[in-house]
Chain length 599, copies 2
């Protein structure tokens, strides 16, 4: 992850500020701050992109402090503070377009709480990572304004786009102000009763058809749905609401079993950027918005902390390495909004967001790029956690982990690994405390045959190694890196009779530039063995898989495609080369498939 | 077809007038006519639904004259005439919302030419079927207004939604006014140069990316695309433009080979109601709008007249019996907007148009219902044609065909058949002329082994029987009605390793109410024989197919659906019952599949 984070810090974040400038987001805030004259530009949620970017800056500063980042942060924070109204209200687009009377009048689409949520998240990152309190003061004033205005005996309404829920809970954690938690809970409970209606979409779109505590699945707009679920998980955790947590477990399990792509991508439909029905998972028209993967990671992280169940860490790994990481180019500055599992050779880019365009520098609706920036910059936070007597390692990456065991002092581990290319992870104790404590290592569900210090250990759980540690003690974790040829539940109609390749946490894809035959017609011979080799030159260094397959022969151009008695012919044998899915579309944009028909 | 037409006339058309009343379409026209006060209601294209309904009334009058129909027609025609401005302009919604200055300012979305086109089509039907000239006078004034306002040295713009092209050519045929043909040609040629842009959709959506004469496929909004192609075919025919006709042949062939469902349904995507990429034909998310099938029929009919190629009549048959007919309930008064080839048991109706709701009485965007009415009422027009010395029968239905052989007099045939349930068609000459003339009978491509008077004849062509005919002469056509088990081109990923059942012109579907096992898991044993039997009680009388299949066992509820080494298990053998696709969702709305996995 280090090179990706480096490029995020060196390239993407500075270039992001330029994009926010040229797209008008900063222009709006400056106008609201009384600097210059003009009208608001761009979508109503324009402020949120600035806040996501500010959050990225703060996390990046924690990773790699620099005066340049602080200066950028302070410059933009000052504008935001000046844009805030005296009573605490803040939303530059609404202020400019609709004035004071326009506040909270069109919450279904105005994204006022959504922008507030991102502001609060940025403020918390800022104070934690840089100790600057500028944005936090703005956030508290705004949160107080929300508390003063929303609730049973005040305005009874919710924002069309969740995120405020998790932001308010985190602000409660930061400040201890109970009213923020209460309001977050109120927002979670108020939703799901058709409170949003008659706005061109049915309540399903807004996760407003069924209350969170009663829902058995996720539905509607995917990013909205998982952001809401993440916030509801926070509320359940902080209020000890076991019923709500149970409902969220059910929803996550149903999503994972029936509405999640192999890549961890979420959202099967372009129409409404939405979850589809159960098992509706088309490869070609997968929407799998990058922001939905990010929201999925955020939800899974909260479920992991709430339950300690390794399956949520597995889910995070799958989403991080595949559905999320494909959203950004190796260079770090081009983005996919939409992440399909198949692109046909003749695909026509008829839409601004079409993957057939390749990744793009920015979008009219630019939610994804700064969301990626803040996620890459804050990745470290998803790697480990502690409990009373243990340090948990959830994800494996080269580096060092230091943490406090509550009441006992600091412990630290050095992590040496070439993961995900190699399954060997060597952990060395660098700092320890008196008495026994445990290291808990996630053994991914896919890692059947894993060993810890040579001893076999169960997949899908945490391997716990408890002892009194001395500096220099070593743990050797070995995760098997055999290639896996996976097939789908027969109800997943879209990939019937197909297989896909996985190795370690990575889903693989075949891309036209590596193939001898037309990707649209390739078949994989699943019984054939798959070879793997690391190529340090290719795509910043990837392990490439090669397998035997065959070219197709059944396709007849120009013919009516549905005929009696048609059976596929056996085509020529060819070698098939697969690269990690996340790395596709970094050379040229051509045909790509994750799922290959069985040969 | 007779019972369907009867219900269309007796039930649907009268109830349609009520819907136009309650949805506000007539309200708008009355307001524009100076009757009452208020604001326009509903979508900008509201007038067009009234015109389609008026067209249906006229065709229905030709089938089955009644004073009631004439009265309805005259009442509404009078309102339309009064709504027209003195200079010929007419569009009630634009008049009411935007006034004279608003005319043609937002053609991309205003549908002003679209409404004009439907008005012209209704007017021509009216004068031809009822001899009333009221609407024709309105139409001519409006067409003259268009001629005065659009062209190279006038306003250079085209409507976002085609239909005006075919309407103007037909008005030219009706009146002989060359200017109408010229303007139709101008509209066809002006399009495809990005003349429509910056309107939230890329030019692809409006068929405005590539000029019709250069395009190699259809793309974008499916109804827009096929309406445009139909109008361009009219223009090519009337102007003798062979290059344009060649381009249209290429486009039709490409559409038919790569972007058409087994049902003849057109449009793979909900997003933009659009054609997808080549071979992108998902069963579950098929859009296949009923209006697109209607437009496809209109285009294919024009291609048939232009070329005499039987494949276009085959296409009409496929679209009529399947993609079109599924759009209306057996009762005639409930409609599908969207016609998928699969509905899962757990499908959630999250959208007004979702097929999971079942057919509905009307829609906010009510383009389909009156379009179905005018198509059913005018179906007779698609059955037969004449050339200098021959009568062509394109479609087979019980009834009588009478036609003039140019310059020679009238000929007539009685058609006796139980088609599509039985393949025997008995034709008896009821009227003839001196000297030899020919009967040309389309032998569908699927009808391998067809015979005419016992002699084998080639499928996919017209069988020509030329002689001097006497009244009472009989032709016996025998079309084989064996069930066909069809499979798809391997590039159609969505139905890999699946089969579907066809019999005669009908595509079949399995519906939950007829099955022993869960439709979501059913597999068909394609090598097993399929039995057929006519059930006069079921669904107004249908031939039912029964075959052997097996229930699924591979699905594990709640599990991550993608696993290494997964193979389907063999489930219990079950009997599978299939009904004609057009008849689905007439009992209850449950799981349905056209394509079944191979067992």
């Amino acid at each position: 992850w280090a090179p990706r984070q480096l490029r995020n810090g060196e390239q993407a974040i500075p270039s992001g500020q330029g994009q926010l400038e040229s797209a008008g987001n900063l222009h709006n805030l400056r106008l609201a701050a009384g600097i210059g004259e003009g009208e608001a530009i761009g979508p109503v949620f324009a402020d949120s992109d600035v806040y996501k970017w500010l959050e990225a800056v703060a996390w990046e500063y924690a990773r790699n402090p620099s005066e340049d980042l602080l200066e950028r942060q302070r410059e933009l924070t000052a504008i935001v503070a000046d844009a805030q109204r005296e009573d605490g209200y803040l939303d530059s687009v609404v202020q400019l377009r609709y004035g004071d009377e326009g506040r909270y009048q069109q919450l279904v689409w105005s994204h006022e709480h959504y922008c507030a949520g991102h502001l609060i998240q940025a403020a918390i990152a800022q104070v934690r990572c840089t100790a600057d309190r500028g944005l936090l003061e703005v956030a508290i004033k705004l949160a107080d304004h929300l508390v003063a205005n929303f609730g049973d005996d005040k305005t009874v309404d919710v924002d069309g786009h969740p995120v405020i829920e998790m932001a308010l809970v985190e602000l409660y954690r930061e400040t201890g102000t109970q009213a923020y938690l209460d309001l977050a809970r109120w927002f979670v409970e108020a939703r799901g009763h058709g409170i949003i209606s008659n706005h061109g979409h049915e309540p399903t779109y807004f996760s407003d058809r069924v209350p969170v505590r009663e829902a058995a699945t996720v539905e509607g707009h995917a990013v909205r749905a998982v952001y809401l679920a993440a916030g509801a998980t926070d509320v359940a955790l902080e209020t000890g609401d076991a019923e709500l947590l149970e409902a969220l477990k059910t929803q996550f399990a149903h999503m994972w079993a029936t509405k999640t792509y192999l890549t961890g991508g979420l959202g099967a439909r372009w129409e409404g950027e939405a979850f589809g029905d159960e098992h509706e998972l088309p490869s070609d028209r997968a929407y799998a918005e990058t922001c939905a993967a990010i929201g999925g990671i955020q939800w899974a992280w909260r479920m992991l902390l709430a339950t300690g169940d390794a399956k949520y860490a597995d889910a995070i790994e799958r989403m991080l390495y595949n559905g999320f990481l494909a959203g950004v180019s190796l260079a770090g500055t081009e983005y996919f909004y939409v992440n399909p599992l198949q692109l046909r050779g003749a695909a026509h880019a008829d839409n601004n967001r079409s993957p057939a365009h390749g990744r793009r520098g920015w979008f009219d609706c630019a939610c994804c790029p700064p969301n990626i920036m803040r996620t890459l910059a804050s990745l470290d936070g998803y790697l480990a956690s502690t409990s009373a007597d243990a340090l948990q390692l959830h994800q494996y990456a080269e580096g060092a982990v230091a943490a406090d065991l509550p009441g006992r002092g600091s412990v630290g581990l050095k992590v040496e690994t070439a993961y995900p290319w190699d399954g060997a992870v060597r952990l060395t104790v660098e700092q320890t405390v008196d008495g026994p404590w445990a290291v808990e290592l996630r053994i991914p569900q896919w890692a059947e045959g894993a060993t810890v210090n040579g001893t076999p250990t169960e997949a899908g759980e945490y391997a716990r190694i408890e002892r009194e540690w001395s500096v220099g003690d070593v743990i050797e974790l070995q995760l098997p890196m055999a290639t896996r040829v996976v097939a789908a539940d027969p109800r997943v109609d879209a990939v019937r009779d197909c297989v896909a390749l996985e190795r370690g946490p990575l889903v693989y894809a075949v891309e036209q530039s590596d193939q001898q035959a037309d990707v649209d017609d390739l078949h994989l011979l699943p019984e054939a063995s798959v070879a793997s080799s690391y190529d340090p030159e290719l795509l910043d260094g990837v392990t490439v898989l090669t397998a035997r397959g065959r070219a197709g022969t059944g396709h007849q151009a120009g013919a009516w495609p549905f005929e009696p008695g048609r059976t596929d012919q056996v085509g020529d044998e060819v070698e098939i080369t697969a690269i990690p899915y996340y790395a596709w579309a970094n050379r040229e944009v051509g045909a790509m498939r994750v799922w290959l028909p069985r040969g």
